[in-house]
Amino acid sequence: MRLTDHTFREIVRGLESRELSSRDLVGAALEAIHSHTDTLNTFIRIADPEQLIGMARAVDDARARGDVLGPLAGIPVAVKDNIATRGLGTTCASRMLESFDPPYDATAVTRLGAAGGIVIGKTNMDEFAMGSSNEHSFYGPARNPWDVGRVPGGSSGGSAAAVAAGEAVLALGSDTGGSVRQPAGFCGVVGVKPTYGRISRYGLIAFASSFDQIGPLARDVEGAAVLLEVIAGADHADATSLRMAVPECVTAVTRGVAGLRLGVPERFLGPDVDSDVRERVELAVTRLERAGATVRSLALPSLSHAVAAYYLIADAEASANLARYDGVGFGYRAAAADLDGVFERSRGEGFGLEVKRRIMLGTYALSAGYRDRYYASAQEARRCITSELLGAFDEVDGIVGPVSPTVAFGLGERVSDPLAMYLSDIFTVPANLTGAAAISVPCGTTSGGLPVGIQVIVDRFNEPTMFAVAGEIERASGGPLVPPTRGAA
């Protein structure tokens, strides 16, 4: 069997009726991973296959006995390699953490396990989640299952590509400026950036703490909703996790959009958006109208500052968060005769170029003489954007538009032009700046056969509306996408 042959619901029903076994699922995942290793490079580390089969068998036996099982019982899940998994290593795709084995599991991983999910391995990513193409990985780039000459997006590129290629049923990623949604869009899968605080960040290696959120990836909207419900909720180990009940997301998927008010920001369908992408998104919006939603245009002028505000603040936070990598407590240590040499050379040799670039930008923006000009201005911009975007939710229930201005671009195309790479995050950073929830859903393919993602942004705490709109888009566009089978690959 191939995991891409089934929707999430079919897999769950197949397990319940015992037409499918967890051993089938884990076996199919391992086989797909094995056959794609050289082409897709999606995983940094796979769990021991014998142990995985053993776990699957235990779930199958428990089901045969009639035990009460969790909602993810026996389902293989891939986990981004910046989310702590004890015993499986957690590298952040960096030389700095090449041999790091975390002393505990992230809360999301613990909850995944408690629901019966089987962590199949750790996925490739941009180093420390800094990147939009997965090309900034110490382990080499992951590739897009739709076209191996193209990037899978980033930074959760390995997680998105793994789900698209049937190497896992579900995956965890992290989204600081679009790092779940953009790769989901590029790989034709569903990716969620929940409300800030919805999922505990305990065990998520910090990049920019006021933006970072763990988010689910799945082939379809229902799979993402189930995974979100499993891992969300208050956690005493994360003071920023929301102390409120997790709303029902799964039931919202089939609710429809009749009576919902949707807005499309003017610049989201402006001249910077490729015509192929614009056409697919416009068609999806038309279908939402046909299904009973009303659609209006939104001005949102402050979004012109979104990329600048995001990169200045995120990199400032990163420069502070990454100060902990000093070659002393854990991580890479360079040989040096004195302590300053240990600090400077461990960081100089342990971090890749993009991480150094971000640390430099953040340090510069916070340094004496420049702090007000850059960091304080960016905070001001964040406040304006937050006020304007959340104010829009008085008028509309959701905001729709493309995930990215283009489809997946070619490997090497933007890697030497950081500004071009940063600017492609224009549509995803607003949700992170404001704490709002957002989802990326496939809405068809271009004439060139590449998937296009549409984004739905909703007010904080309003994930059910987001899932309702996403479910409608998925049904109207013909259901989950499957990448073409690639010959000997």
């Binding site: 790091f100 084995d101 002393p103 800030y196 605080g197 006021s210 920023t240 929301l242 102390r243 409120m244 012109s304 500052h305 600048a308 505000a309 990169y311 420069s319 100060a323 000093d326 070659g327 002393v328 407590g329 854990f330 991580g331 240590r333 004195d338 302590l339 300053d340 040499g341 240990v342 600090f343 400077e344 050379r345 960081r347 100089g348 040799e349 170029l353 150094k356 670039r357 640390i359 430099m360 930008l361 340090t363 510069y364 007000d372 000009r373 850059y374 304080a376 201005s377 905070q379 001001e380 911009a381 964040r382 406040r383 006020s387 950081p418 500004l419 940063y422 600017l423 904080r460 705490f461």
Partner: protein, 116 residues
């Protein structure tokens, strides 16, 4: 906004990053390009804005309360956990990932001058 090599060197020193001359030159150029593009944001504070941060309670405040500083309403307070004894990392576990350790402690090159 052009960032000179000397300014880049100063930032690298602040960030404790050993960079070679080629990296410094490239990163100075990258920072110049990126910050040049971000100048429009810098103009926000020069135009008299206060540059105040979004605070954590603001990030968590719900509904229309969030949108105006003057409207009072329910706020999501930052919660501090109970100060209770719990199971923490043992010294052994904490040292397990250390590049070098000695006698149950992290080990680094000496940084105090020898006693006279």
């Amino acid at each position: 906004m052009a960032v000179s090599i000397d300014e880049a060197r100063r930032a690298a020193r602040l960030a404790r990053l050993a960079l070679d001359d080629g990296e410094l030159e490239m990163l100075a150029a990258d920072l110049s390009a990126v910050l040049g593009h971000f100048e429009s944001v810098a103009e926000l504070t020069s135009a008299g804005a206060e540059g105040r941060c979004v605070t954590t309670p603001e990030l968590f405040a719900s509904g229309s309360d969030r949108r105006s500083d003057s409207v009072p309403g329910p706020r999501h307070d930052v919660v501090v956990r109970q100060d209770a004894v719990g199971v923490m990392l043992t010294a052994e576990e904490a040292l397990r990932n250390a590049p070098e350790s000695e006698d149950g402690q992290f080990s680094v090159p000496g940084f105090l001058p020898d006693e006279p």
